[in-house]
Symmetry: C2
Subunit: 279 residues, 2 copies
DNA sequence: TTGACTCATGACTGACCGGTCAGTTATTAT
DNA sequence: ATAATAACTGACCGGTCAGTCATGAGTCAA
């Protein structure tokens, strides 16, 4: 990733967090970076493309740091504390902006964004499960969904104070404080409230794709091609026919998809198909 | 409040929650209501005026219900549970949207919105303090900020599950579950982490106004008047001069402000000055 | 020196948005 | 039945924004 891209991502994320995505113009972003508007479009396909990159940039950063906890050689308790420290450090500045964006279910970009979001959630959830089981033993297994929901909530509560009041809190102390509270909560547990399946399933949160939607997309692209002998056109036709059958043959679809790879027109469709087949 | 106003407010709040304020056009709102765009402006001064009304509508609803807890004749524990029940019932659908808007520090409306928001927060905080002290005794006094932050976080965590997964959870059970967890947390408390003043002070959250900002506003309005003999122009000039001195005389400013009351041009400035003098 | 190439620019365009208003329709009063 | 008033409409306007593109500036090999 080039320096300029990083510069834009970091400046933009500040502005998005401060003013919101829609309310921030590309001009404002480029002004803040000291570059021209045209130059922006050398680095990013669109404003939405930038948004996706912002998510990728901070998301992978966070996932990497959380993933690295496993390699720390220390006590389970310290590891658990470290998990909170990382959250406070990394998410603090961007959580509001991330939360804000989560609600905007408009653009095609959000499809990819939801995927990334789910990947992050999943990673955080798995890590938390691991850390909790290591620290408190298998006995708490049934309580994991509740514990995680509550801990995430508590974390969020303190993040809001850090962000909103711009108060410099001692993050290490805070992490240790939260782990102590976790001790208390766990010692008092009786019956769990949440069942595992009530917790947001990471697969299910993504918008599910219907065959109807795919067929409509295919028809639209076919109309744009208009040459019935075109390789892409034929491939699309075959995929469409296959989708219409109730028990479509996945290999037929994935095979035909290989003919679409280079066409920019079908970029979005291919992405949808991949997600559709992998669900 | 007329039926149409309520219709618009409720439809709009759904759209705002789904897509965000900026991303939702007035046309979309009126389409959803089955009325014309022009008709919208018979009920609301502007799109921002609508936003304020949405806040007022749900805010007062919530404040009323929370305020009514005190009149319930039951045990402190049941009252405390009821507090959560109300939150889950009322906030659930709108909390995300409310949180989302809190970050958009753009418009003049937000000034008023912040006031309402602070009123709500304050009410919720005071009520919680009361309920907690009644249930657990004065001993927890020093821990109140932490407890409230954590409980708000936990509440939010479960709200997210309700909202995001559209799962029908038993709210009464959930409230009771949370109160039990509160028992555990409180029984294990040692040293508080947050000090009272670190919790968001309800006055302080409003954006502070600088003299520089005011002077800039004044100069801008003066340029728009251009008649140096105009009463408003002279008043603005005097206020500007007064603000430039380090120990400005408040009476001079408030006196001059009375000359500005009727001018639409100075509406925003007057509001800022009032907040500035009252801080 | 030249010309081919890359990178950067900002004026420009078409779409859209908030808000207005002249005109139409519905309702009530006479 | 008619006049008066209120409620409503949608075409329209000024303005903003995302995205484009003709132009220019800098670089370097020939």
């Amino acid at each position: 990733m080039s320096d300029k891209k990083i510069l834009i991502i970091e400046k933009a994320s500040e502005l998005f967090a401060k003013k919101g995505f829609e309310a921030t113009s590309v001009q404002e972003i480029t002004d803040a970076c000291g570059i021209s508007k045209g130059s922006f479009y050398l680095s990013f396909k669109s404003k939405e493309g930038l948004l996706l990159s912002v998510f990728e940039y901070f998301g992978t950063k966070l996932i990497d740091r959380i993933g690295a906890i496993h390699h720390m050689e220390t006590t389970p308790r310290k590891r658990f504390e470290q998990f909170f420290v990382i959250q406070f450090e990394e998410i603090a500045r961007y959580s509001d902006f991330i939360l804000m964006q989560m609600r905007e279910q408009t653009s095609p970009v959000n499809e990819e964004m939801l995927d990334l979001m789910n990947k992050m959630r999943k990673k955080a959830y798995e890590t938390m499960e691991n850390l909790l089981l290591n620290l408190y033993g298998e006995g708490i297994h049934n309580h994991l969904p509740d514990i995680i929901v509550m801990l995430n909530g508590i974390t969020h509560g303190y993040i809001e104070i850090i962000v909103f009041n711009k108060k410099k809190l001692n993050i290490a102390d805070l992490a240790s404080y939260i782990v102590e509270r976790t001790d208390s909560i766990i010692s008092g547990l009786t019956e769990p409230f949440l069942k595992k399946e009530q917790l947001l399933s990471f697969e299910g949160t993504a918008i599910s794709i219907t065959t109807e939607e795919l067929i409509k997309d295919i028809e639209m692209i076919k109309r744009q091609i208009n040459d019935t002998e075109d390789e892409v056109f034929i491939s699309l036709d075959v995929i469409g026919q296959e989708l219409l059958t109730l028990d479509f043959r996945k290999p037929v679809i994935s095979g035909m998809m290989s003919n679409l790879d280079n066409s920019e027109l079908t970029e979005g469709l291919v992405r949808k198909l991949v997600r559709f087949l992998n669900r």
